[in-house]
Symmetry: C2
Subunit: 448 residues, 2 copies
């Protein structure tokens, strides 16, 4: 039985907050968003715990609970918000997360005086994000990366297998692989250029060499975050799949293309991926995303119908997420010349061939157990047009056509000192824009 | 700097225990073994905690510590043995694990009276394994599966890619992929036959179908268990790699061959593997394995020399583990006729193309962080002869040649009710045989 997690008063575009600064237009975190994260006041020595971003501040959920501001399911949900991860909150399921969201919305709404009546509320209950440290929001047992963009799969396939860019399974199976959970890192963490084995000769018959990666790339992705899991040996029907989702974040699946090319047959990418995967700090809840749903991507006529276990029927009409992701690059030269970051990619999650519910139902279709905090990456989000290409591999045709940057520089792949900035937002007619925050990382030189 | 974890008095073949039953010949757990595990007395309600197998009993480390039987590093090590996993013990490193092993060996040695002088020692300090529940020994953040047997890679490659069984990267790169940590299960846990997508037509152009796996297989493997990890962005020199190993266990990487064949391109195996991976309950410590080392497998002349980061130099002479794995099958008909399990595979870990240190150094060569409790599967262990084939895919040539069983039955792949029993042991001239225990699982029917 699917839960209803539809549009309600928390999404009303007319809502404003009594909090100064929270109503600035174009801000990522208006009162309609309310994403969860893990934070602590810098220098406080307090243990990391859960908060909700609002404007340029973070609401301390535990402080509100101590003040008796929550009731019912919201109070039960707030009781696990002293944890150093959102796992237990996510595991409580949509009813709890939704109730907490609703009561936080009410607390922050224009006219409400409960928080501003608390002593030291500006520092104790609603500190500025800039005065806080942020942490990975989830403790992730398993990270899976899918390959849900047919545009990406086709563009990459053309480079690796010109004779057969899209393999016969693609339109039937949501292709994915197990990723590395240990190397998940938070927005802002520098990324060390990996060393690795590469093979310069196209036929693979010359001796390979070991050295710094020469084809370091980013991948524009979104991450689906599991809320309630399923026991090993059970499946999740596609119609109930979204009940198991807690929310979404942005994800940059850093990739060493030269390592990948040499190592990936026959078992898939391994060390080309496991040196870093950057996550954004704020979990945009599934509740917050309700107004920003889109129809599943139209499959070209002649494409196969999904098998029954992946068929969403009439739910297809709002099965996708209308998330727009943008990737900007800031090089050391641009920084020196005070140039703004240059946009390299702009891609739409609604263009993905497979929907979040399909990815999740497929993942559990063999009885695989998903656990709270698990992350399912969409895979690189690309689209039909050149500006929609979500990684340099696609943008530069495998390093052949350099991208020209504002300072007159060019890039085939990332260079040391380059900062990669992934951002994302949702928009819908009649609703405000909500943002996903950022997912940044600067490339550090390899250590030989 | 590599630690010395060599042969010492704990390995002496002349050692015997004062404990009745521990000296029975052919037993897996003589006093020279002393593997760690997690247990609790059945029905006691006590939290799971660490023990050491000796004969048919398990030594309660916390009980010995309470009695003041440990000193120095061993006492520090015993202080974390109340945990429900061995992770903190493993993370302390070889000096601590070695000291604890040494003092436990002394406590159990013939003539020592300290334990037998404690009240209720038979139930409180040394309960029978048969009266205990066992648990997964490690909390595993990431499980990696390698492909270290060139015999397996060649046999399987011949079936999937007859024109090029062994890919050009194989003799340079220790091929591996990220596995699924959530579906790691303990010896004895039944395995539900997975459902999944399969494609019956060889050209992949007919519509696939979704249903129960028809080609369920086992894989004979060993698991390397990480003790001390490495920070993200750092590497582990091959000469120091074994310092990071806590021990080994047996591992059955259950595989759905029909799902695998259809899904594995281009990102590798996914749902074909993530429904179950069975581990044996006892961690054979790296210290215990010292007498059972073997030379790294001889690479045929003409094979490339390993790149410097994988070159073990003179250490190659004892870089492998002389572990023999056996796989037995017991079908419902055999059980009914009281027939003994039939041996299908017998394989030697010393035949692997890559050594444990090479697998570990390669894994961290890109800066990937390994964490205490992580497991590195060797991949299916096969050898040059027919009896060495470590999975049914190889034994039956992809399901073509059925295996004939004692009751006159045949098997191409596993059937419901079949019990798969993986065991392993080490032997060396002048030393006693030590066993790895068992890794069992019975196939349950799929749930449609």
């Amino acid at each position: 039985m699917a839960m209803t997690r539809g549009i309600d008063e928390t999404h009303d575009a007319a809502l404003t907050s009594w909090l100064p600064g929270a109503n600035a237009p174009g801000h990522d975190f208006p009162i309609q968003n309310l994403p969860f994260g893990i934070f602590r006041r810098r220098g406080s020595g307090e243990p990391p715990h859960a908060g909700v971003a609002i404007g340029d501040r973070v609401l301390d959920i535990a402080a509100c609970r101590t003040a008796g501001l929550f009731t019912g399911l919201a109070s039960e949900a707030a009781a696990v918000c002293g944890d150093a991860s959102l796992n237990r909150l996510a595991a409580l399921g949509p009813a709890h997360a939704g109730a907490l969201r609703g009561q936080i919305s009410a607390l922050l709404r224009a006219g409400d005086t409960r928080i501003a009546g608390l002593p030291d509320w500006e520092t104790r209950v609603l500190p500025r994000i800039s005065e806080c440290e942020l942490f990975l929001p989830m403790e992730t047992g398993d990270y899976t990366d899918f390959y849900a963009s047919i545009h990406h799969a086709t563009n990459v396939g053309r480079l690796f297998r010109p004779e057969q860019p899209l393999l016969p399974n693609y339109k039937h199976v949501p292709i994915g692989y197990h990723g590395r959970a240990s190397s998940l890192i938070l927005d802002g963490t520098p990324v060390r250029r990996p060393m690795g084995q590469t093979q310069a000769s196209p036929d693979g018959l010359q001796p390979p060499s070991f050295g710094p990666c020469k084809a370091l790339d980013y991948e524009v992705e979104a991450g689906l975050i599991i809320g309630t899991g399923n026991p090993l040996g059970t499946r999740i029907p596609v119609a109930a799949a979204e009940d198991h989702l807690f929310g979404m974040c942005l994800l940059n699946d850093w990739s060493a293309r030269d390592l990948q090319k040499w190592e990936y047959q026959p078992l898939g990418p391994f060390l080309a991926k496991s040196f870093a995967t950057t996550l954004s700090p704020w979990v945009i809840t599934w509740e917050a995303l309700a107004p920003y749903r889109a129809a599943a991507a139209a499959h070209p006529s002649g494409d196969p119908a999904p098998l029954a276990y992946l068929d969403q029927g009439s739910a297809s009409g709002r099965a996708a997420i209308n998330l727009v992701c943008e990737l900007h690059l800031l090089t050391p030269a641009m920084r020196q010349q005070s140039l703004a970051p240059a946009r390299l990619s702009r891609a739409h999650a609604r263009d993905l061939y497979w929907t979040p519910a399909q990815l999740l139902a497929h993942h559990a279709s063999n009885g695989c157990n998903l656990r709270p905090g698990d992350i399912l990456g969409t895979g690189t989000i690309s689209g039909p047009d050149a500006e929609n290409r979500g990684c340099l591999l696609e943008l530069t045709q495998g390093g052949k056509d350099a991208v020209v940057l504002p300072a007159g520089e060019t890039r085939r792949y990332l260079q040391d000192g380059d900062e990669v900035i992934l951002s994302g937002h949702c928009e819908a007619p009649g609703f405000v824009r909500i943002g996903f925050g950022e997912c940044r990382g600067t490339v550090l030189p390899a250590v030989g």
